[in-house]
Amino acid sequence: MQKYIWLVPLLPLIGAAINGLLGRKFRFSEPLIGGIAVGSVALSFLISVAAVYSYGFGGHAEWPKPYLTSQDGFSFNWIPGGAVSVNQGSEARIQIELQKNLEERLAAMTPEERSQTKGILVGASDSPRFALLNIEWSYQLDPLSSIFMLIVTGVGLCIFVFATGYMHGEAGFYRFFAYMGLFMFAMLVLVMGSNFVMMFVGWEGVGLCSYLLIGYYFDRQEAANASRKAFITNRIGDFGFALAIFGVIATFGSAQYTDVFNQAKGYPIELLGQWGILSWIALGLFVGACGKSAQLPLHVWLPDAMAGPTPVSALIHAATMVTAGLYMVTRTNVIFQHSQTMLLVVALVGAATAIFAATIGITQNDIKKVLAYSTVSQLGFMFMACGVGAFVIGIFHVMTHAFFKALMFLGAGSVIHGMHHEQDMRRMGGLKKYMPYTYWTFMAGWLAICGIIPFSGFWSKDEILWNAASTTHIPLGWLVWLIGTIAATCTAFYMTRLMAMTFWGRERFLEAPAGGEADEAHAAAFDKGLTQHDALRPSAGDRPRHEPGEHVGPVHEDVADHLATHGHGGHEHGAHRPHESPPSMWVPLAVLAVLAVIGGFVGIGPAFRTVTRSEHPGGRLNIVTWLNPVIWNPSTREFNAAEGVEAPVAETEHAAPPTEGAGHAETGASVYGQTGFNLAHSVEASTHSELATEWIFIIISLVVAGIGMLLGGLFYVWRPQLANIWAQRLRPLYVASYNKYWVDEFYGWAVTRRTMDAARAVYAFDSRIVDGIVNGLASLSRLFSRIVGGIDKYFVDGIVNTIAAFILRLMSPLFRAAQTGFAQNYALVMVLGLMVAVVIFFARDIF
């Protein structure tokens, strides 16, 4: 079945092409379009499941060797490159070559020669290498790409089904699913590609689809601005990524993962302070990841991207596209682990992003914006994990986050749909009894994100924090742990706040006018054809179209007037009452909720080894075991990070080589040198038990989650007035958080306006100086031509006219005399001509 993985990206593309090209022309019905889209993704999912099963668990499993379709499946020679000069990283290569030569010489000597040898002179060539660069289009099935395939197609399938319900009634229904199918294709190419260039193609493709989908409501200024912002910010990251790919090709002479990583693993590690070619490459890659995965400072596009439809937010901005950065970092973990500086940068940026976004999420009122900032924060967590060397846990968190965040986005979409496109949480409340399915599934997501055992979020988040505390890859692990813990507290707080404001408490939508009455009037007038569509009208996020009586947008200014005209709470309007969503919408919620609950069990950590009798229970089903073959171990300098992970019986804690997840044992410390204060080791030094240390950290993270939840409950359920009081007391902090720390305004001032100034300056230069020169030359030419024209007209023509007139006056009477009008004169001249002809004919003889 592995041979057919090339169908996995192709089927959504075909579905997208059919929907996009034929959907409008032949007026496909909604069920048909939805059926094509969902069917193509479902088929992809089934093929992925079958392929991954046969790859990892079937009879002739290939795991852990990566399977490339260029072996016997699908591959074509995409860019036949030819010879490239491999001119980067030559010092490292020389080192490797010297080492290799030395070892060969040593192996060739007999033992007594070896003992007598004091030193060996070896040489390495300094000349630039040449490699044959050939970029092919083939897919790679290995532990990492298989996880992403399953996530993308599986979670994507749930979201597609949800979207068929959510986007019902849209005029652009076919366009939505065409773009979504295209997105699936691009994302799958990204994760399944076997070389960097294919990944870049997928990278750009998902960026494009993000632009298309965020700007789905293209007639609204807000959505158009947001889509442009997303694309441009992405492109800034893509620039770094492209430079990194150039660096990869120039250093390793190939773009295929297998070639590059086989070469890269031999390079020397660049410690903190050393900055070599691998650090440069890692920097470029990380810049790309920042752009795509919305890390500081390129995070600004993600909250604005909520202007797109909710399924788009769920799929692209929660589960798949934003995790592309993580995929890329984990895929190239060899390169990152060679550069300690970059690992530190990744960890710190991730931590900063986590706390930054978490503090902003506390004060937001739009339900989707809260979830957006939560996504940014959780992505920060994932990068924290990668930065401290726990790449497997980072991917584990990607997986669990995909489950619960997609669940919560879809739940939010269900709420928005049920509230008739009201997105402001201040106008929700008490929806628990109106939308039970949504409520219970959302609760599963809430518990997961807060990190409550045994939900999925707990397992991954706890492992991240443990690995941050105990890392030996980078210094300042304790700082990362601390920031992560605080961010986890904030996460619990604002998610509880969200639950409270949306589902619990009193039903605020009955008291205040829910939804913009001005917008409702506008909607009614627009449908009657009395007003034009207004793209600039602000509104509450994504709404496909408003129907008369539908409440959308900000609250009407004059509440009393509204109440007077509409009566108390507007019970006359049937549209007020929220309703549960149709099955096409809550069934995917249920599926995702189940996954959010049980999805974490693939990563039960080693802290539970007394219960599970294994470091990583589950054999190949355990995510650490599964992903280890793609993680590089700096101490053994080989892939398959931890030796002996599969041993199920590890009763004694220290007998087997001590491993924790993808973390590193004490032997790892010697690779990265002294990394300063290590929190876990100091705790362990006092408790003298590794197990106890791990449990202490687990307890801490549960406690902080509990504190966050309690605070949230306190502020928003039991003592609602406390929220406003504390907002007043901490007014500066509140304002800073509410305004998103003015990052957008700062960018606007520093980047956008300065760029426009530069553009204006260049324009002024061009229009005044360059055009001035050109116009000046043109004026000169015109002046010159006028002078010459004058000469010609008066001087030359004067001469010609005078002479011609003179000749004419002279000769005219002469020539006129020949025109007698008398035919016989003409005949006489003919006879004269005849005579002349005869004379000429006989001239030789006569004369």
């Binding site: 025109q819 007698t820 009008g821 035919a823 016989q824 005949a827 006489l828 006879v831 006569i846």
Partner: protein
Amino acid sequence: MLNFTFAFLLQQVEDNRFAQMRHAAANPDLSKFLWIGALLFIIGVAGVLTRRNIIVIFMSIELILNAANLNFIAFSRYLHETGNANALAGQIFTVFIIVVAAAEAAIGLGIVIALYRNKETIWVDEIDLLKW
């Protein structure tokens, strides 16, 4: 040319010359035909150039065409006797010249009549509209 003119005009000739001439006169051959044709042609040309009456000019043109016919027939006869396969070509030509002459005469006299109706004159020197 000069030789011939003198020989024809002056009485002073040699004996065999005169005999030659007598023989030539008594036995006219191709050249005599051609002479007659040439003379008729030139008389026609003179008529075209000198007469004022337009009808007479037309008749002179017919003389010219007739002279050409005579030339063709003479040569046709000559070629027949010298064994040329295309001996009758001259007579065919003559037929066509007669056809053309007839057509031309018809049209030309039609023009003359139209002209007479407009200008009421047959003197060509009164028809000088193209004079400057």
